[in-house]
């Protein structure tokens, strides 16, 4: 009965072993790169848990969908058709502008901008860890997702892929306290780094001098300077500027354009490969490379 006392290792020994092991793991994990492979395997191992965890919600959604009335579906269809018409009208204009832009660029003999391939992914888990702002998406290595891949939603940049499993990937949001994104302001073209602070509604702009021309309401676009995010996607809008002369820099806050607190569907980008046609989540992107 009392096997507790004739075990090979005593409880205290086990605890010491566990703590030492945990400490080693933590050290290895903090030295980025050392654990990337291990994390990939572990992520793949636990991905069934993540898929199982969303089953109830998805079932509810399905039940809700099957219970909807014909009338509400027709209304929604009408709305979507109108929206599509509107968007297509704008796309015509956009294509014309993009061609004109290419022509002008070639006239100036400057490098033309590469377009990117995209894929739709669904958010299957949002972290309950209060110290990190991350989401898990349902695409992984099997869909050629890679480390550091930019992720956007319909309004702006969401974040980048921070670890990849076989069928899932973890996306670190731009609002995570350990994430910074290089941006350029819309009007004045000033380059600033937008640093997350662990709040989905707020980014802080780093090292902005008091004499800055930035204004409240100005949009910040990604500047592609870090080599991670492609250029020209909206990131955040400046919400507050405080010029306190007793501090070395002006305190500038911005609100992310993407709805980070209720992100559901995201787009993965493969920068600089081929055409913009791959909008279908089931379709494979064309030869994505890093």
């Amino acid at each position: 009965m009392n096997q507790l006392f004739n075990q090979a290792i005593s409880l205290r020994g086990r605890l010491t072993l566990a703590l030492v092991l945990a400490f080693l793991l933590l050290i290895l994990d903090l030295r980025m790169g050392a654990m990337q492979q291990v994390r990939m395997v572990l992520n793949s191992v636990v991905s069934p848990v993540q898929y199982l965890a969303v089953v109830p919600e998805q079932t509810l959604q399905r039940v809700y969908n099957s219970l909807r009335t014909k009338h509400s579906l027709l209304t929604e269809n009408q709305q979507l058709t109108n929206q599509m018409l509107d968007l297509q009208g704008r796309v015509q204009r956009f294509e014309f502008l993009s061609q004109e832009n290419q022509r002008l660029r070639s006239l100036l003999a400057s490098e033309s901008q590469a377009e990117s391939t995209r894929m739709v992914a669904e958010v299957i888990a949002v972290d309950s860890d209060p110290f990190s702002q991350q989401v898990v998406i349902n695409k992984g290595l099997l869909h050629d997702v890679f480390l550091g891949q930019p992720v956007i939603d319909d309004s702006g940049i969401v974040g980048q892929v921070s670890s990849v499993g076989a069928t899932t990937a973890r996306v670190i949001l731009i609002s995570d306290a350990s994430h910074g994104i290089p941006t350029r302001s819309e009007r004045s073209g000033i380059r600033v780094i937008a640093q997350g602070v662990g709040d989905t509604q707020r980014l802080e702009l780093m090292h902005v001098p008091h004499s800055t021309e930035l204004e409240v309401g100005e949009l910040l676009f990604s500047s592609a300077l870090g080599g991670v995010f492609p250029e020209g996607y909206p990131v955040a809008q400046i919400s507050r500027i405080r010029r306190d002369e007793s501090l070395p820099f002006a305190q500038v806050e911005a609100r992310p354009v993407a709805q980070l607190d209720r992100v559901r569907m995201v787009l993965l980008l493969w920068p600089g490969v081929g055409d913009e046609s791959d909008m279908n989540g089931d379709m494979m992107p064309q030869e994505p490379d890093q």
């Binding site: 507790l4 086990r14 092991l21 945990a22 888990a125 209060p130």
Partner: protein, 161 residues
């Protein structure tokens, strides 16, 4: 007495359920109150079968939590192992507690676990404490009596000893 395959499966399946509950999407308002399901279920098994389930299992469940939550590997593993050690040492005492006393003990233990996690996170990446950080300790303590009864029912139904 042998620990049969079926009995082992009962333990593993309940632990798996705990992990699923720990990452299941919840509405934003309830999110802060999510009880520490995985920890409570592994604690139950430590109290019930201290010679089968103890620090090793706690470590594995903690590591799985680390991977699922995307925190640095080893943080929850260490915290869970420590809590597992306490319960494995004092399982006889805890068994003799009334359900409400056990709930109080769980309240303290979840607070200890979250404090360990916070301290490590603070040293590692300067984490900020939010006012809602200890809410899960309260909700865990409230849920515990029912969880305990449910788990005991499951354990007796499948004859896991």
């Amino acid at each position: 007495m042998r620990f049969s395959f079926g009995q082992r499966m009962v333990v593993y399946l309940t632990l798996l359920a705990g992990l699923i509950l720990a990452v299941m999407p919840m509405s934003a308002g309830l999110q802060a109150w999510r009880p520490e399901w995985a920890l409570m279920i592994v604690i139950y098994w430590v109290i019930a079968l201290p010679h089968r389930v103890n620090i090793g299992t706690c470590f594995v469940i903690g590591l799985a939590t680390d991977v699922l939550l995307g925190s640095h590997l080893g943080i929850h593993a260490a915290a869970y192992s420590f809590i597992g050690f306490i319960f494995a040492n004092h399982y006889k005492r805890v068994r003799n507690f009334s359900l409400s006393q056990q709930g109080l003990f769980i309240l303290v233990m979840v607070m200890v676990e979250r404090s360990i996690v916070y301290l490590v996170e603070y040293y590692v990446n300067n984490a900020q404490m939010t006012s809602s950080y200890f809410f899960p300790a309260l909700s865990s303590a409230v849920i515990w009596p029912w969880l305990f009864l449910l788990m005991r029912k499951i354990r007796r139904r499948f004859g896991v000893v």
